[in-house]
Symmetry: C2
Subunit: 874 residues, 2 copies
Amino acid sequence: MSKKFVFAFEEGSKDQRDLLGGKGANLAEMTKIGLPVPQGFTITTEVCTRYYEEGQKIGEDVMEEVKVKLAELEAKTEKKLGDTENPLLVSVRSGAPISMPGMMDTILNLGLNDDTVKSMARLTNNERFAYDSYRRFIQMFSDVVLEISKSKFDAIFDGKKEEKGYEFDYQLQPEDLKVIIEEYKKLVKAEIGKDFPLDPKVQLEMAIEAVFRSWNNDRAILYRKLNGIADSLGTAVNVQSMVFGNMGDTSGTGVAFTRSPVNGENKIFGEFLVNAQGEDVVAGIRTPQPIDELAQSFPEVYKDFMRISETLEKHYKDMQDMEFTVERGKLYMLQTRNGKRTAAAAVKIAVDMVNEGLIDQKTAVTRLEPSQIDQLLHPTFDQEGLKSAKKLATGLPASPGAACGKIYFHAEEAAAAVENGEKVLLVRAETSPEDLAGMVAAEGILTARGGMTSHAAVVARGMGKCCVAGCSAALVDEEKKTLTIDGITYKEGDYLSLDGTSGTVYEGRVSTIEPELSGDFGTIMKWADEIRKLKVRTNADNPRDAAVAVKFGAEGIGLCRTEHMFFDEERIPAVRRMIVADTLEERLEALKSLLPFQKEDFKGIYRTMGELPVTIRLLDPPLHEFLPQTDEDIRTLSAQINVPYEKLAAKVSELHELNPMLGHRGCRLAVTYPEIYEMQAEAIMQAAIEVSRETGKKIEPEIMIPLVGMKDELAYVKKVVVARVEDVMKKEGMNLPYKVGTMIEIPRAALTADEIAEEAEFFSFGTNDLTQMTFGFSRDDAGKFIKEYLNKKIFEVDPFQSLDQTGVGKLVEMAAKLGRQTRPQLKLGICGEHGGDPATIDFCHRVGLDYVSCSPFRVPIARLAAAQAAVKNA
Amino acid sequence: MSKKFVFAFEEGSKDQRDLLGGKGANLAEMTKIGLPVPQGFTITTEVCTRYYEEGQKIGEDVMEEVKVKLAELEAKTEKKLGDTENPLLVSVRSGAPISMPGMMDTILNLGLNDDTVKSMARLTNNERFAYDSYRRFIQMFSDVVLEISKSKFDAIFDGKKEEKGYEFDYQLQPEDLKVIIEEYKKLVKAEIGKDFPLDPKVQLEMAIEAVFRSWNNDRAILYRKLNGIADSLGTAVNVQSMVFGNMGDTSGTGVAFTRSPVNGENKIFGEFLVNAQGEDVVAGIRTPQPIDELAQSFPEVYKDFMRISETLEKHYKDMQDMEFTVERGKLYMLQTRNGKRTAAAAVKIAVDMVNEGLIDQKTAVTRLEPSQIDQLLHPTFDQEGLKSAKKLATGLPASPGAACGKIYFHAEEAAAAVENGEKVLLVRAETSPEDLAGMVAAEGILTARGGMTSHAAVVARGMGKCCVAGCSAALVDEEKKTLTIDGITYKEGDYLSLDGTSGTVYEGRVSTIEPELSGDFGTIMKWADEIRKLKVRTNADNPRDAAVAVKFGAEGIGLCRTEHMFFDEERIPAVRRMIVADTLEERLEALKSLLPFQKEDFKGIYRTMGELPVTIRLLDPPLHEFLPQTDEDIRTLSAQINVPYEKLAAKVSELHELNPMLGHRGCRLAVTYPEIYEMQAEAIMQAAIEVSRETGKKIEPEIMIPLVGMKDELAYVKKVVVARVEDVMKKEGMNLPYKVGTMIEIPRAALTADEIAEEAEFFSFGTNDLTQMTFGFSRDDAGKFIKEYLNKKIFEVDPFQSLDQTGVGKLVEMAAKLGRQTRPQLKLGICGEHGGDPATIDFCHRVGLDYVSCSPFRVPIARLAAAQAAVKNA
């Protein structure tokens, strides 16, 4: 049997969304459950795919099927396309599997021509209506199908109004409209060199093709890119017999939600416009009435509509966004779909529906968009205040939230200002680890350079702090302490406001609203926790972040980095002394002075986390990151730590690497200088023992060795670590259980995970580095060309944002399988930036990881995404 | 049944080399075929492995078995260990599966003590012999087992000789020897606080353990590392009843080869020492007689030996290296093994043996060590001349061969000197692409910095030119044009000689000998070609290298890089104009002026290669490599190409990358600037068409797109290339078949090779980059820590030298399989540096690649290795 390309509404159902598009599937469903839907048929999305595959042509076999379905439609409606007795008029609309509101094209009133318009006038007994419909049709068809600018038609239309001295459209008389129509037709002829097509069958074929074509118009492409919709889905085309909301005062049209999409209140929410077509509501030309007023003006229709509305919500078990038309007192449903809603509304509706018995808890947790609930976790701008705010520039939305404060250009000065009680924004060309104190103190961070994974962005997200990064319009002069945008210069102490969710920079002060984490939100998160299989940990390397994460529901620390600690002002001299040490003795001496600091770090974290697991990663970055790079800074440091300039400069040059990302770092440092990891292992174990004694809590340290590529390398480093750990326990006379595991972040480690698992007691996937090496992309450098890849549609999404499941994911899956082959109880987690990305979390669930770890402020998102993954893959 | 740990010689065979070691297996074999072998038994290599696994202890079960075998040996020889009537004396020797001559320890005359020495004296009627054996035994046992320095015994011995006024050892009388023995025993007591062990059973157990211990002595470890022998193999221990070559003038000992190991001549080759033990021959204290002289002095023994020698060679079907002893006129065979030989001897012996019908051609090709035949392909130093040469320093053996010439410090001056008829060595701190002309002109290259994969090393190997790199003792002052080594300064024009095979630098002139490629060598290579399945191509990007490779038997070019061409003096300005171009027009203009150059490059190569396939890789390196980096150089260039300094400096800074290896290069350049690849595609196709017309040859261009990670990326770039190729063919009115394929050098490409193969018409594995990314190692930076990894035995071999088959190999295998799944006829090759490594070639054969590609001078090695792989894996 050959494939079916066209479905009458009564032949489809809501489950055929991929084939019929969202609109088509819902029209079919409404038809099936007996609601008043104007009849019609749907041309499938597969035809769209074929259209592009076959060089933008619609197959003749498809058009044959369309003709058959059209004949059926004519039979059912007892009307005929182009018939002068009883002409059929249809709408032709797009409808993709995933809603893309307003992005593609629609044509109404198709079937009108010089003959059928007369029939319409006769049948409706309303010549003005008929000719107005006709002129609207010509204008719309010419715009969408013939690609003649709408403004040229508007000029004719407005010219006629002016000529006649009319203020409103409805003042135009049939004779005026006929003149306009003739002028429209002349315009078409002049523009395309051909007559406006008057044969309705030709109109239909052209309109169908135009809808397919509109799948790839610029705004549709952009919308898909922004919303992560695959270009390959294609759109369906719905051909539906017209009903008219503009047939006089007993007609009208409206859109409504079954509940409030703003706050979720269980009360119908919508608008209605008397004597109008749907486009008028959407276009916002006239101000519609609230839907409640239907009760007065159309009591019967209102009753019907309320009943249908309830039916639909119960049927779909979700809040519906409906379009309807009343034609001479009779209600027609034109569309229903699950309604878009704010995060707050989504939470309330989901919880209410569970309480109403409409859905179960599992369904409820799927009703929140994880990326959306970020809104609920950060301060937001007061919408009123925002209306009057002056938008200065846009950068990358590097870390969500809203913030307002006085701008400072140096970390120390920002920190000092905060100590004086000021609210501060830190503004830098770009940030470096030395700016950390200032970043901690500030309300928000603005940088002129750097991408979504720049230092500022990563650190800010980790702290849940608002950050706008890479704002290239911002010229930052750190020396003069000025920020210049568009020729206007802002000085230290001037107020700015930042929206890290959208990447917007505002002038002056905009007030913010704090988030609320209890109530319905708390309820739904509790349900999510009961449903999910994946544990959720956090990436945190200090007690403050750890406490925030626990508040947000983190069940442990998946990645506690130990390098940020090294940058602390008190310690960095010792770190530097260690690096420039000539002998093992000197190095041991420097490490000895670092030990008490590290121990205190870990004690603070163990005190905060109690018995929750904490995975501590030993030192990872290349040593040169701890040394200054410019000649001037080297001289300053030389004096500071009392090391001859020449020696220091030689060390800096010796440590210089062409590709530090692939250089002497991670466990490679420990192969060369085992004493560094020995010190860290000692600090961890001492801290665990002391906090155990202090609190009586059972602490089981998890020590993680980074950048492992080979089993023998891990074996070597593990032996060093274990020896010191055992030493400490023996000296302290206290044994704690502990685990030594590894990051899986080098492709080779994933490929040989069966071997690695002979040594590793757990794996944590470091998908940042794994992505860098699997793609051969340096995160620091790839910004430039990844943009080009997104533009040229080589990437659907940046692989540093959402895990590349095909390539990098294959390694993760392989490593999980090979690792568990060797060690069935191997604990598996992910601690890259991807750990907070919902699509990645779904992947992690599917490949059977034990936990994901993400920045504190993404913990709730991860909890929810994990629950959704459990529901989706049940 | 429990495992057997000890084998009597008659229980084993030559096929049990892994278990019994080489020596043990051959002693067993000789016993089996009825040769006169002193009886004994072998303790297996598994015992050695257990010894290390169990904390350096020999299991009691093993010692039980030893006792049983000892009893059997005693029964067979009718002697008894420690017996005063008829004492058994034994030797205890190591014997690993792979020969490690002289690396481990041996003990002779074990079983002697104060009692048995008397019996020996009585039985041999030679008191001097008995006591001399005893004192030798004490000295050897103390050295090897008790670890007391040999020199302390020598002091006593020499003291006694001096005291007595003796000139030769044999002048010592039994009484002298007895005194010496007592002093030896005192020395032992003083050194270890215990008496010398007099119980022969204790001696035996201690000796066995000492042999196992010697497996991990420093020189054995070093030898294994140098020869790529796995540490896990272990050694066997052979316990064998003693025979004595030092029982007077009817006794003696010798070593002999069945053919000459120096030149392969089919004539017995060896040495013989009357009245001596084997150690005396090896130690070189006395000068032995040529073996021929046996015919006179021991005619019967000589006849026997010649017969046995022939038997052994026929039995083993290979040239044998034998040790024998004559005890009072009776010949005993102590050892036989396949003899080591020079490359020249290996070639002659293999060909001769085929001609003699001893082996077939397949066996013959396995008789050459591929790494050894490199000796045959490059000039070597005249051995005589070398004897008097002064060795100055040692660097890395970066590219083999010998060279002699006047030193020059700048590429242009070196080139100019060559034009004046001088022979020149280029000496640089390190080389860069701009030194290319000088490197081409020079006989050899010496650099002070850089590793085995530095620019100098890679380029020199590519050209088959001698290179010593990273010679850190060489202080090069390029400005002053001086080279200082060990305080002595050499100036421009001074003569030096370089041995790139060993990495040695010699003062003055040493004469060289040119290689010979025909004759037996040609014969064996012809056989190799008939046997191998893998094709062998070469990496070459100019007609000169291509011609050399063809002479060496290359069957095509597997990698023709296009970037070296860009550095040419005539072109680099246009390249730089292209890079700094602000607009597409400017860039196209610059590219247009490069086009004729590129076309000529390709025409030259096509003319040289004729119908052999040529894979041309489009531009790969990041653009900043073509721009100067220092401020001064930027200023110079600015004037040169007439681009403002600020603009040029800004461009350099814009192109700067933190990790250029993972940056904007390869096909990523073409995604941003498609016009670069368009120009290259045009040049290739034009060249192919013009040379086709000119020569009538069928040319089928293979265009290779580098650094592909994703199918869609390849699809995009391929489309650009194909469009231009088709354009050219249309314009020229000539159609040529052509292929567009890709490098597989990004892990993701290997992981998704099934998708990539939808676009790629061939794969070429770029294992250099693939190794870098799979390990996360930057070749430029990893030198430092890879050394540490080799030292700490984390690596057995540098993964940039020989492909890491476990990890990187897994990706290669996966990609080959996935690629052919999509496209069964997909052509697969390898073009990384590994393409010339025999172990890698074996791997390539096993995973079913179609060809390997390597530098011209490695082509014969690859041909041979490919044949060996075919034989080995048949």
